[in-house]
């Protein structure tokens, strides 16, 4: 079942490198904005404690940022190295947002991030503040364009197949840009980043307060992080990106799988809070349902049905059969300089992507038997239990974040930090936003399977024609190299957290350039 062929290895490599990259991205997104907020307070109040706070969090931001840049290069190049046919097939549309990201966003962020560190003495207060805001703005624009590209894979709008060039080509950039999936994804993802940044600051501030170190900076950081985190956590849950799941066919399948909803839910659809999805009988056992909620989440209405897995599989089967005529025409006429789709085949052409699903079962898909077509249709069901649980854990974490930030916000508005147990709980919550974010990507991308581009190209077709040994070698290299870097990166962040800010109230323990780690923190 689990073959180490080019497809599996390339998918594994993409998943690992993307998830690894996304350990650094959300922190960059959130921390950049928090730095900008803290520095704004410094410029407005003129109190140096805020500058010290900005510089301290900035040091940690710098370590994280370098890793984000480094691992991001892999992402941009992996489409070409491992997904060459995909790149040829949709580069006309998919490449544009990536290139615009570089031009408009990443240049801005990366050019000014150097000045953030090296510009404190060279710039006026206001100039430096502008630089910090530009870094934050760049990071957010960057997320926007990457998510426009990603959303297009989920819901490929504004494009059409050109039989002369045998690829998808852009028909409307406005549709690509204003893709509803892109909009909800952007808000959801950057909010998740803000939650991560806020939790990072709040946990470390809690650690300082618990150990009675750098309390002035820690309390202020905690206040900012709690209010910013509360707003972000509300945004990430309320503006969750499932609103986009009705946009495309596969998005519907994704939400059905997330819900382990085998049969179509009549309106107003209810939400399954808990259950055990059973793949064999295609039922979900021990369900606890909340009426109306799914209708509200998925369709933003109470009068539309939410389609179940079985109905969607039936439709896929129809589409596989329907696309066969278009496929056969394409195999014969495609690529000719004057090839044009005959009008009677236009409907069939829209379903060629579905017919291509059969290629995994037999290369000569026009000779597929009914059983094989049914097998291909069944392959459109993503991994139901993984999606079901990933989604629920993510949502539970989302509500936990709201509660935690709300409590911290309430306490700090009363100028209190909370009991030690609360601070300790805050401290140990540090990794949770990353867990939620990675689970979110699992839902979004693993849930997109078997498609690399929804209803257009199956994932297994998108790979490069390269030896599996090459991919195995690169995968091994990435695992080793990335693991080593992760260990060093975490060790350095821990070290710099322990050293703490350059705090005027608390004298430095040692001189520059590199500060030794302070004595182990006291336990209380």
């Amino acid at each position: 079942m689990f073959e180490f062929d080019v497809v599996t290895l390339s998918r594994l490599q993409f998943a690992l490198t993307a998830m690894y990259h996304f350990l650094f991205v959300p922190l960059t997104l959130g921390l950049a904005l928090l730095l900008a907020i803290m520095e704004s307070v410094y410029v407005m109040t003129g109190r140096t404690v805020w500058r010290e706070a900005t510089q301290f969090w900035g040091t940690l931001f710098g370590i994280n940022f370098a890793m984000g840049v480094a691992t991001g290069v892999t992402m941009e190049f992996q489409f070409g190295t491992n997904w060459a046919y995909y790149s040829h097939y949709v580069g006309d549309i998919f490449g544009a947002p990536l290139a615009i990201e570089g031009l408009m966003a990443f240049f801005l962020e990366a050019t000014f991030v150097g000045l953030f560190f090296f510009g404190w003495k060279r710039l006026s207060k206001v100039q430096h503040l502008v630089v910090t805001w530009l870094v934050a703005l760049g990071a957010n624009f960057s997320a926007l364009w990457i998510l426009v590209a990603n959303a297009w894979m989920q819901n490929p709008v504004g494009a059409a197949f050109n039989p002369q060039t045998m690829r998808m080509e852009l028909t409307s950039f406005a549709e690509v840009l204003f893709n509803p999936v892109a909009q909800s994804k952007f808000v959801h993802t950057v909010s998740a980043g803000y939650v991560t940044g806020a939790m990072f600051v709040m946990s470390i501030a809690a650690y300082f307060i618990l150990n009675r170190r750098h309390v002035a900076i820690a309390r202020r950081s905690l206040t900012v992080a709690a209010s910013f985190g509360l707003a972000s956590a509300l945004s990430v849950v309320v503006l969750g990106d499932e609103s986009g799941y009705t946009a495309g066919e596969n998005q519907k399948m994704k939400i059905a799988a997330i819900e382990a909803m085998w049969e179509t839910e009549p309106p107003p659809a209810s939400f399954t809070l808990f259950g055990i999805p059973d793949l064999k009988s295609e039922t979900t056992k021990y369900e606890i349902k909340i009426p109306w909620v799914l209708g509200l989440i998925a369709t933003r209405s109470l009068d539309k049905p939410v389609e179940g897995v079985k109905a969607l599989v039936e439709r896929s089967e129809e589409r596989i059969r329907n696309g066969m005529a278009g496929y056969q025409w394409l195999a014969k006429e495609g690529g000719r300089p004057n090839a044009a789709v005959p009008p009677e085949l236009e409907a069939s052409m829209r379903d060629v992507g579905h017919s291509l699903l059969v290629k995994r079962i037999r290369p000569d898909i026009e000779n597929a038997t009914d059983a094989q077509i049914h097998e291909a249709a069944l392959s459109t069901i993503p991994d139901v239990p993984v999606l079901f649980w990933s989604f629920r854990i993510m949502v539970a974490l989302g509500f936990y974040f709201i509660a935690l930030f709300a409590a911290a916000f309430y306490l700090s508005s009363r100028r209190r930090c909370g009991k030690p147990w609360f601070l300790r709980m805050t401290m140990y919550s540090l990794p949770l936003p990353w867990v939620a974010a990675e689970l979110g990507w699992i839902v979004a991308e693993y849930g997109r399977q078997p498609w690399i581009i929804d209803a257009t190209m199956p994932t297994f077709l998108g790979v490069s024609n390269i030896p599996a040994s090459n991919v195995a070698a690169s995968l091994a290299a990435f695992v080793l190299f990335y693991s080593a870097l992760a260990i060093i990166d975490v060790a350095l962040i821990v070290k710099y957290v322990r050293i703490g800010p350059r705090d005027e109230a608390e004298p430095q323990r040692s001189g520059a350039p590199v500060l030794p780690a302070p004595a182990p923190a006291q336990t209380r």
Binding site: E76, T81, Y85, L103, F107, G114, L115, F118, W120
Partner: protein, 379 residues
């Protein structure tokens, strides 16, 4: 806005601009990385070399990332074939490009000599390996690489990593190493003082002279040995982007066709030579700024020279020459090229403006004394 043919031509030019931007800007970072263990011999000096690029390397690396994105958006078949074809070579480049930011950021975070020396050498590797491979890749481009398409335009590449390392490609690799060493030396001679800058000027003069010799050798090889590519008959300049509809022949010296047809193109090699020679002189007379300017022009000349020789070819196929990728049949659609052109026209001037401002703010050399005082932010 423009017709399809003009757009393709403009995008070929933009590809050149991005390549030159990358070679000039990221080029000096790569050069500094290669020079780092040799021109800086103690910890303070090594911190000087690192800090000359410390505030700007992130921005410079975007030239490379943008280059990749632009090839993806404007020349998808080129992106697909070259990145998958050069798979293991790309992996080595990637590891280099990951090591560079990490080495710069991590090196100063611990005081131990062993820690710092390890990162010093990894920093060197992060410059040398990509520099060599970029050159080797261009060397292979000029000779054609073994790939072909099927009817659905799925590319297949038949070579391996070792096949890339042929004598002509290695010569091009050395061209690239010498060129970027010159560029890094020029940067260091502007941005550092004392011993580091003296050594940088020496290495820069040496690299410039070496570059002149190496491109002469490469040029002769192209004239006499390397089989160039030539399109037979006419090719539709505004036709669909399908590289299977033309016929191509190979002939030694065909890469000089363009220089015969358009003698003004000689300006590119002339710029490469004069730039390098002026840079060598400027290094000798300790004129850092002139050296940097001349070196940058020489870098631009070398990159343009390769582009002019190959035009309209982007990636020739050695096994199926007629399936080679050219400017006329490997681009994006007209809609995408137009859209991306607008993006470039709007954003590139803004990028250049704020980049210039950042360099202006950061003007002045990094001195050993300032690093020792440690009264500002330094790696």
């Amino acid at each position: 806005m423009f017709d399809y043919m003009t757009l393709r031509l403009i995008w070929w030019a933009i590809l050149g601009v991005l390549l030159v931007g990358f070679a000039v800007m990221d080029g000096f970072d790569i050069g500094v990385a290669m020079l780092h263990p040799f021109v800086a011999r103690n910890d303070t000096q090594r911190r000087v070399t690192l800090n000359t690029i410390g505030p700007v390397w992130e921005g410079n690396q975007v030239w490379f990332i943008l280059g990749g994105g632009a090839v993806f958006a404007a020349w998808p078949p080129l992106y697909a074939v070259s990145f998958s074809g050069f798979y293991l070579a790309m992996l080595l480049v990637l590891i280099g490009l990951i090591l560079r930011p990490v080495a710069i950021t991590f090196r100063d975070k611990r005081p131990e000599t062993g820690w710092r020396e390890t990162w010093d050498w990894l920093f060197f590797v992060s410059g040398f390996v990509p520099a060599l491979i970029f050159g080797v890749a261009f060397g292979n481009l000029l000779q054609g690489v073994p790939f072909h398409f099927d009817q659905a335009l799925r590319p297949t590449y038949e070579g391996g990593l070792l096949g890339l390392l042929n004598p002509f490609a290695l010569l091009c690799g050395l061209v690239s190493v010498a060129m970027l060493t010159m560029q890094g030396s020029a940067w260091l001679s502007v941005k550092s003082e004392g011993e580091v800058s003296v050594r940088a000027r020496r290495s820069g003069a040496l690299a410039a002279i070496l570059l002149v010799l190496l491109i002469s050798a490469g040029g002769l090889w192209i004239m006499l040995g390397v089989e160039g590519f030539r399109i037979d008959g006419v090719i539709e300049h505004a036709g669909p982007s399908n590289p299977l509809a033309k016929s191509v022949t190979r002939e030694a010296g065909a890469w000089l066709d363009n220089y015969r047809a358009y003698p003004w193109m000689i300006a590119a090699p002339a710029l490469a030579y004069t730039g390098a020679l002026v840079a060598a002189l400027a290094f000798a007379f300790s004129a850092g700024r002139i050296a940097f300017l001349a070196s940058s022009l020489s870098v631009a000349g070398v990159a343009t020279m390769a582009g002019f020789s190959m035009f309209p070819f982007l990636l020739p196929s050695s096994t199926h020459p007629s399936q080679s990728l050219t400017v006329w049949d490997a681009s994006s659609s007209k809609a995408t090229l137009s859209l991306m052109l607008i993006a470039v026209i709007v954003f590139l001037p803004i990028v250049l403006a704020y980049t210039s401002w950042v360099y202006y703010v950061l003007r002045g050399a990094v001195s050993e004394a300032a690093i020792r005082r440690g009264d500002d932010y330094y790696y």
